[in-house]
């Protein structure tokens, strides 16, 4: 049987919201995290590692966008984590 609709997001707009948030927010969190790592490791090594970890992390963060019940917490977490991870970069540049 298909998944029970009772548990799924009903409004198509909110669903679109989640997809976009997960795609964009997930990407910025992932990217800023790896930029943060370049503070501690040689940047070409971090970029090479990101080939594997980056896409995997991005996919997981997108997945999480569907699981988190509260939309607001989702937005705040993505923004908060992105800002937190990019702090050293913003200060240095």
């Amino acid at each position: 049987m298909p998944a029970n609709k009772k548990y799924l997001t009903k409004s198509p707009w909110i669903r679109l919201c989640r997809i976009l948030l997960g795609t964009i927010g997930g990407y910025t969190v992932m990217l800023s995290f790896h930029v943060l790592l370049t503070e501690f490791f040689p940047k070409e090594n971090v970029i090479a590692t990101a080939f594997f970890t980056g896409y995997l992390l991005w996919a997981f963060l997108l997945f999480w966008a569907f699981l988190e019940p509260k939309l607001l917490r989702l937005v705040l977490t993505y923004i908060g984590l992105t800002l937190l991870f990019s702090l050293p970069y913003l200060i240095n540049h």
């Binding site: 049987m1 298909p2 998944a3 029970n4 009772k6 548990y7 799924l8 990217l31 790896h34 930029v35 370049t38 940047k43 070409e44 090594n45 970029i47 090479a48 590692t49 990101a50 080939f51 594997f52 980056g54 896409y55 995997l56 991005w58 996919a59 997981f60 997108l62 997945f63 569907f66 699981l67 019940p69 970069y89």
Partner: protein, 543 residues
């Protein structure tokens, strides 16, 4: 079990899976056959690479180009193919502006798999070391190259939509990312039953159970393999998604510098001196010398800058043989005038972390570290991926075939599944058909292969769609696969006299292998057909 989470896993897995199903099947199917790209090339051309070890003669290429062109001041790039028997040659116009008008093309687009510039005085072609023949890219095109390029949807690049990368590559990239997403959601969905149902297979049950078992059991067994291919696939096809932003943030937008740091491009900027080099230079001697120095590696690239000028430089790139070193790359750059080595990096000892990651990506994706045996294992695992996709489509369809679902939705579902299954299952007979037809074609080039493959595919898909019956689709494709696959070795024997026993005797194992592969596929198709005929339970959709 959290009901809410379970249903979300379920739905995200279903939707991401069904969107990419047909394209992913194409990618998996063509990709599996691409493991035998070199064998397919040898088969089509009737020229085995297995027992011929021809010396890479670069002097010959330069000399023969010298009879048609004035070589002074030109740049040469040699991209040696993995078999070591052939090389792509890219010859630029002269750097000497008294001889040539300077190229309009910027340095940026060079070196990254360019198809050569359109400038008439430059050249881009495929050279075979074995019989010293030269052919343009279109003439050298073959079924191996076709299937290889089909597996990242390169043929869709014809559609003139560009979003940072050619359209086909973009689609292939999105499909592989959604594939990664579907793999993750699939594991979460199946997690609770992963141990209990590990060996659960109930082939005598009703169809839906069979498909579900096929999907989950083979999905779990194939999971590590598929995860590796999802990730390395994304890296190989749409890595600009990471490279672009990283270069903006960490390299002030200088993508060239990033590519150099990752050793995709080598910096080789040499200013032209306008003073001719008095001595001649033996390229072969240079190459042989270094290959003696690094015996356990294969030459992959050779660059010559400012040919015949005092500033002339030559650089050689090698890759270690995978049984000697898994990772690493050798590089040497030399100034020709005084023989000074400007850069040396040994493939044996100087492997960097970046080398390790890149080797991991390439070896894991191309399966080139364990000979033919490993490639066969990869091939079978790839086909198992195809089975997982098809069974996924079937589960999707029958799960929605309920009386409480409105007819228009069920109609749509049926036609969608019918289309996806027809696209997928027709690939095998179409591939075999194209191989046979190629043996009876006097001249083979890119457009012929396109026409043969894509038109026969289209006809086949329409025919299967009209049947409007998935059981019939299955039986018809099995019969056609059995006949056409058997035709592959026969067509080869009839036209070139390279019958199985002859190729085996001549030690042309690559040609022999392709014939054997299709014989095996034919036998399996016959076996499957009789199984389906005897035990296949009919199921009715929309009747």
């Amino acid at each position: 079990m959290d009901q809410r989470k379970y249903n979300i896993y379920f739905h995200t897995h279903t939707i991401s899976g069904i969107i990419i199903a047909a394209l992913l099947f194409v990618i998996f199917f063509a990709g599996s056959f691409s493991f035998f790209k070199d064998d397919l090339t040898a088969w089509q051309k009737g020229k085995s690479h297995s027992h011929v070890q021809s010396q890479a003669d670069f002097n010959y290429v330069l000399d023969s180009m010298g009879t048609k062109h004035h070589l002074l001041g030109r740049n040469f790039d040699f991209y040696i193919l993995r078999s070591g028997q052939e090389t792509y040659v890219n010859m630029s116009v002269s750097q000497d502006t008294t001889i040539s008008k300077p190229e309009v093309k910027s340095e940026k687009s060079k070196g990254r798999r360019g198809r050569g510039s359109k400038n008439e005085d430059s050249a881009y072609f495929l050279h075979s070391f074995a019989d010293k023949s030269q052919s343009s890219y279109e003439e050298g095109y073959n079924i191996g190259e076709f299937l290889y390029r089909l597996h990242f949807l390169a043929q869709l690049n014809q559609i003139p939509i560009r979003l940072g990368t050619p359209f086909g590559y973009l689609i292939a990239g999105i499909v592989s990312f959604l594939f990664l997403f579907a793999l993750i959601t699939g594991v979460f969905l199946h997690w609770d039953k992963i141990k209990n149902n590990f060996f659960l297979f109930r082939p005598w049950s009703k169809w839906k159970t069979v498909w579900t078992d096929m999907h989950t059991v083979l999905g779990v067994i194939g999971f590590p393999f598929q995860l590796v291919f999802a990730i390395t696939g994304i890296i190989l096809i749409v890595n600009f998604a990471l490279i672009g932003p990283f270069s903006k943030l960490l390299y002030n937008g200088d993508q060239e510098e990033l590519y150099q740091d990752l050793q995709y491009n080598r910096k080789m900027e040499v200013t032209y001196s306008y003073q001719p080099l008095s001595k001649s230079f033996d390229v072969n001697a240079f190459v042989n010398n270094w290959m003696k120095e690094w015996p356990e590696s294969d030459i992959s690239r050779l660059y010559i800058r400012n040919y015949g000028d005092k500033s002339m430089q030559i650089a050689l790139e090698t890759k270690p043989k995978s049984n000697a070193n898994f990772a690493g790359s050798g590089y040497v750059r030399m100034q020709v005038l005084d023989g000074k080595q400007l850069e040396v990096k040994s493939p044996k000892t100087d492997a960097t972390y970046v080398d390790w990651v890149k080797s991991l990506v390439y070896h894991l994706h191309f399966g080139d570290y364990g000979g033919r045996t490993l490639r066969i294992v990869y091939f079978v695992l790839g086909l198992l991926g195809c089975v997982v996709i098809i069974s996924g489509i079937m589960i999707w369809l029958v799960a929605r075939e309920k009386p409480n679902i409105p007819t228009y939705k069920r109609k749509f579902n049926f036609w969608a599944a019918n289309l996806f299954v027809s696209i997928s299952l027709s690939m095998l007979p179409v591939t075999a058909f194209t191989l046979i037809m190629l043996k009876f074609s006097p001249t083979i080039n890119q457009s012929l292969i396109y026409n043969l493959y894509f038109y026969s595919w289209l006809v086949m898909i329409i025919y299967l769609l009209i049947l409007r019956d998935l059981t019939k689709v299955n039986k018809h494709t099995l019969v056609l696969s059995a006949i056409l696959s058997l035709g592959v070795p026969i067509a080869n024997g009839l036209t070139t006299n390279l019958w199985l026993w002859n190729t085996l005797q001549a030690k042309s194992y690559d040609i022999f292998f392709i014939d054997m592969l299709f014989m095996t596929i034919s036998l399996l198709s016959v076996f499957a057909f009789f199984k389906v005929k005897k035990q296949g339970k009919t199921f009715k959709i929309l009747k």
